[in-house]
């Protein structure tokens, strides 16, 4: 489903963020990408989203080489990916309802479908009572739940969670990870980027370990070892 083929990313001369990275993620997999801060995890996520272009090598989404894809194709791919970020990346001038509806509007869904689906997702995620609130009126946990609702509403093929528990307390972190597991059990691919040792060790899923821009370990049922 996603394939990295000898990918190197250099931002400025001598600033090598990723070096000769190769791996493949199959449909329905739960993959953890671990590494210290600055190891290159976020750059890897941005490469999957087509927000960065590799300096050398290729990133494939299905059969499509993202380096060669036109902007419209890249936008289509981004719509197939649900993203959850550590800093939530919510739309601050839109309400909770509008934040979720925006994703469906981007997809071109009709108003009836949006009016039916958004309240349902907000109910599942526990934000039904905050429909008309703005993101700055939500707690950290609620913001992250809203980010998850937004990532799920279009039923994407892949969920990418980039440090989703970074700003959360243990209780909220546990909730987020449980939700990601459920999403994966429903057959969707989940890519979890984190540096939380406890979470990785509990999950017992595939772990790709990155250090100084290189993959140093790729294990089927891996543990957090850096």
């Amino acid at each position: 489903m996603i394939k990295f083929n000898n990918v190197t990313k250099i931002f400025q001369a001598k600033d090598v963020v990723l070096e000769d990275i190769s791996f493949q993620i199959e449909k329905g997999e739960f993959v953890c990408i671990v590494g210290k801060s600055g190891a290159g995890k976020t750059t890897l996520v941005r490469l999957i989203l087509g927000l960065e272009i590799p300096t050398s090598g290729e990133v494939y989404f299905g059969d499509l080489n993202l380096n060669e894809a036109n902007p419209i194709k890249i936008q289509e791919i981004r719509r197939k990916i649900g993203c959850i970020h550590q800093d939530y990346k919510l739309l601050p001038k839109k309400t909770v309802y509008e934040n979720v509806a925006y994703i469906m509007q981007v997809e071109g869904k009709n108003n009836e479908e949006i009016a039916k689906e958004v309240p349902k997702v907000l109910d599942i995620i526990g934000l039904k009572d905050k429909t008309n609130n703005f993101p700055d009126q939500l707690s950290g946990g609620e913001k992250q739940r809203l980010a998850i609702a937004r990532a799920l509403v279009n039923h994407p093929d892949i969920i990418i969670a980039d440090e989703p528990t970074g700003n959360l307390d243990p209780y909220n972190s546990y909730e987020v990870i449980s939700l990601l597991q459920k999403i994966n059990q429903a057959g969707r691919t989940v890519i979890l980027s984190t540096h939380d040792r406890e979470i990785i060790n509990k999950l017992g899923k595939r772990v790709i370990t990155i250090e100084s821009g290189k993959i140093i370990r790729d294990e089927k049922a891996g543990r957090f070892i850096i």
């Binding site: 936008q75 919510l90 071109g108």
Partner: protein, 304 residues
């Protein structure tokens, strides 16, 4: 397509409403800029009027020989009118009219009236007064043609050489004033546009992270850009409405005061006569600057 447009419109109206502070700041700066452009338009109107008034006072006169008939002179008049599109007016003054003008002008001057009585006959020559666009070259050319053409035998003299210096001086002054106005206008408009651009940049800079998020979730460039452009249009329309109202009030109340400084020039009538030019320039400038600034700034953030 229509659904997307409605959504973009809705986003724009919501964003405008939810960011009242920055929206007001953008409208304020845009209003000042349009007022500046409007001021230049009024200034240009006054300068044009002044220039025309001065240029209309300058003419050259071709005096015909005593025996030239009216039909011969009118034929010359027609020939002169055909010479150049820059000839604004050619006026025939007969011997009798010239005498009547003189008598009217000097009716209180007994010495001149007595002198004229002593001459007995009408000593004045029939003439053609010629007014062009004020260019000395134009006057020189006409004077030259009149003295060297087929009808030169009918012409006694052309007074261009006596008026040459005055014509050149007046032309140089009006040309310099117009040039100065144009350069000043361009400089002021560039400064004003830079200020508007910077303000809109600040407004959109608040949404930099939002644009990045919209990109991440797969929104098309137009779906992201659209609301900002429509907000630019809203800023432009509101600024235009404020400016057209202020222009109307300004022209109405200052009309009498400006008429004291520039007799014959009614700024309110000038505004009403050129109403559509004011509307087009104010609306075009407001919307144009608002939309172009938004387009450039969003494009920059879309590329990051």
């Amino acid at each position: 397509m229509l659904t997307n447009f409605k959504r973009i419109l809705n986003f724009a109206v919501n964003d405008f409403d939810r960011n009242k502070g920055v929206s007001l700041a953008a409208i304020f700066v845009l209003t000042i800029t349009i007022l500046l452009v409007t001021g230049l338009l009024f200034f240009q109107g006054m300068m044009n009027y002044l220039t025309i008034q001065i240029q209309d006072k300058i003419d050259i006169t071709a005096y015909f020989i005593d025996g030239a008939t009216e039909s011969e002179i009118l034929e010359v008049k027609n020939e002169i009118l055909k010479m150049s599109p820059n000839i604004k007016k050619v006026e025939y003054v007969s011997k009798d009219q010239a005498l009547a003008f003189f008598n009217e002008k000097h009716k209180d001057d007994t010495v001149l009236t007595r002198a004229l009585q002593e001459v007995g006959d009408n000593p004045f020559l029939p003439s053609l007064n010629i007014i062009t666009n004020g260019d000395p070259v134009q006057y020189a050319s006409i004077s030259n043609i009149l003295q060297n053409s087929d009808f030169s035998k009918l012409i006694d003299k052309v007074d261009f050489s006596q008026k040459k210096d005055t014509i050149e001086k007046v032309y140089s002054i009006t040309r310099n004033v117009n040039m100065f106005g144009l350069i000043l206008g361009i400089i002021l408009i560039i400064i004003a546009m830079s200020v508007v651009f910077s303000t809109i940049k600040l407004v959109i800079e608040n949404s930099k992270d939002e644009i990045s998020t919209m990109k991440t979730v797969g929104a098309s460039d137009w779906f992201i850009r659209g609301p900002f452009l429509i907000q630019g249009v809203i800023y432009g329309i509101i600024s235009f409405l404020i400016c057209i109202l202020l222009s109307l009030i300004f022209a109405y109340f200052l009309s009498s005061k400006i008429q004291v400084m520039l007799p014959g020039f009614n700024i309110f009538r000038y505004f009403l006569t050129n109403w559509w030019i004011f509307v087009l320039i104010q609306l075009g400038f407001g919307i144009g600057v608002g939309v172009i600034s938004a387009f450039i700034v969003v494009k920059r953030y879309l590329e990051i």
